[in-house]
Amino acid sequence: MGIADARAMHPSIEIVEADPEADRRLLEGLADWCDRYTPLVALDGADGLFLDVTGCTHLFGGERAMLDDILSRFFHQGFDVRAGLAATPGAAWAAARFCGDRIVVSGEEEALLAPLPLAALRIEPSTRTSLESVGLRTAGAVMAAPRAPLARRFGALLLLRLDQALGRLDEAVSPRLPVAPLSVERHLAEPVTLTEDIERLVGMLAATLKTDLERRGEGARTLALLLFRVDGAVSRIAIGTSRPMREPMLIQKLFHERLAAIEQDIDAGYGFDLVRLSVLAAATFDMQQADLAGEVTDDGADIALFADRVRARLGEGAVLRPVAVESHLPERAVATIPFTEAPRRTTPPKKPDRLQAPPQTIFPPERPIRLFRSPEPIDVPATEMPEGPPLNFRWRRALYRVTRAEGPERIAAEWWREAASDPITSTRDYFRIEDADGRRYWLYRQGLYGNTQVPPRWFMHGVFA
């Protein structure tokens, strides 16, 4: 039926465009919220969720109580939800869609499925119509039919689904989020809204976590804090640590920085009624010997904690560490990577670093102390010789007179990296120049003279001390 027909029948009808993407986001939000019942939540098509509640039901007072809790909470959030609970995903799927709010005891799957239509078996519509055309209209009829002809005629999927629903074959529900190895949570009778309260709760949860981590001999590398709001929204706050950590006070400190940074992004609304702290990644924790005064002096730990705190507040790339890269292109020769703790050096370095002793030359080429992120184009009106340094140049709208120059140092493009680049136009000749005020700069000319198509261009690339 078209919109025009629908409007003709019901003039006051409200028409909203279908938005599968938004539906998907909503379903994922609901899945997030369902994390409060079990860590194993999987999406099922566009309109369903699988919750693997194995071993979780007793936390909510049994299967019936849990189902009622889910239904009533969804109802209060404004969702009309139907749920089924069974020993197999297939039976639960059928129970939710065709019976409603039913709990199927293990072993009763056959009795549940037998009167249901074929759609309850999760099979393709084409298989369903062809089954119906031969007179098999219910799941019970299919179950009663001999298996070999069914498999031959309608494919293996039909029997697979049937066996899965009846529990003869295992079916895995793949959770949408990795399951945290350790996780502690606290249900709150009275929802909390204040950041200080949340931080205090984090400290308490971390103290519980510490005993578990100690038992496993591990420390947390990635921690996630999940805040379940009363009305169903879930905030997930993750932090990473540079070295394994289990001290509750330090964990609380890191979350303090993170919460301070994203304070405006978290809307407490009516408050959070469930707070969960999970260890997403853990690593072996090295115990350290304290001295007689009971103090562990470790500068590395201080810096690691400092970097973690800065990262918690300013984001992952807030503390950077330069690393030397084997490349002769100046901008590629150094990469900055987010701070990670360098492996502790137990023995002194055996051979000198390449940086210290370049192999070819005794005198390493002069390199600037600051490099512009992208070379800035400059205007060069005149050079004494075509291949020589500029006499003066204009950079950032100011004119500079060159008094002395050293160079050129020719640096060619890395042809093995960029196949398309022309070796003539991408060759750079670097000059180290000093202007009339004594400032020292690093300029280069890209391209060569005599190449008529593309005139060479000049760039400012760095400054010297």
């Binding site: 800065v310 300013l314 950077l320 330069p322 900055t336 670093d353 102390i369 490099l371 001390a465």
Partner: protein, 340 residues
Amino acid sequence: MAMTAVARETVFALRRQIAKIEGTLPERLAAPAAAPLDADVNTDLTIVRRGIAAALPDAFLPIGVQRFDAALSGGLPKAALSEIHGLETRDAGAVAGFALSLTSLILKQTPGLPVLWIGTSEIFREAGFPYARGLHASFGIGPEQLLFTEAPKLVDALWVAEEAARMTALAAVILEIRGNPQRLDLTATRRLHARAQAAGRPVFLLRQAAEPEPTAAPVRLIVASAPATPRDTIAGPLAGSIGRPAFTLTIGKSRTALPGQFTLEWNPDERAFDERWSEGRDRAKNPVPVVSLSGGGKDPAPASGAVLAFPALGSPISPAARNQPSRPQRAAHLGPRRAG
């Protein structure tokens, strides 16, 4: 001066006492305007200096240039906030270079500790990001000793600086800021200074394109580039070459120093400062080449013949000398022996 020597001694003792209590440097006594800067006349200056040095022997970072250290009464305070100003953004190279050379001096005393360089995104975009290869070559600061923090906002940069300033695990903290933002006021600098004092580590506040304004830093230096001397070679200075980095320093503010201007040259090989000598004094200091000339060179210097114990080239060759193989013959005779 009308005071007797004993009275002055008492005054100085009291001032030292006050300085110790307050944790600040004692103020310099105003020297008579007519008196030249001479050790004999300025006994009061030397007394003050000796007083601080005796009370806090490790509190100063000597720059290594006598005149400059004397002007700052011992060097830059080590556990303090120090302001290093550049008048324009284009001076960023010199300002950063001077701060890094100070850091390099500090790293000589505390080797192995990392240095944190905090900057706002603005300054790193305008003045360039620190380049680890250049820092290693010019200042001997290895990439494993460097940490950078780029903060999008000044508030964040100040927060990181405050947190870093109280850490003893960092050799030095460099905070680089452009212009005169309102947030970097007396209170903010006082917090930084107090933390640096508590941790005993220096915090260098680099301010590019900024006007001097009241801050809590005890010392403010204004840095500009100075034209570099040509590279020194065996055959004398190489014309047109650009040698070691040089800085022009102006003491903008110091509670103990007299205002003054200095031109310092950084020696990247020794990682030390030299004061710029005038052309004549430099030559006079080093009248002979330190490195001997190579014998097998293409163009041996004419003087090398004269110092040998052989007859001079101009004199008639003696019969004994005739038996000596000539230069190319000797080389040919030595050649196969080496190869074997």
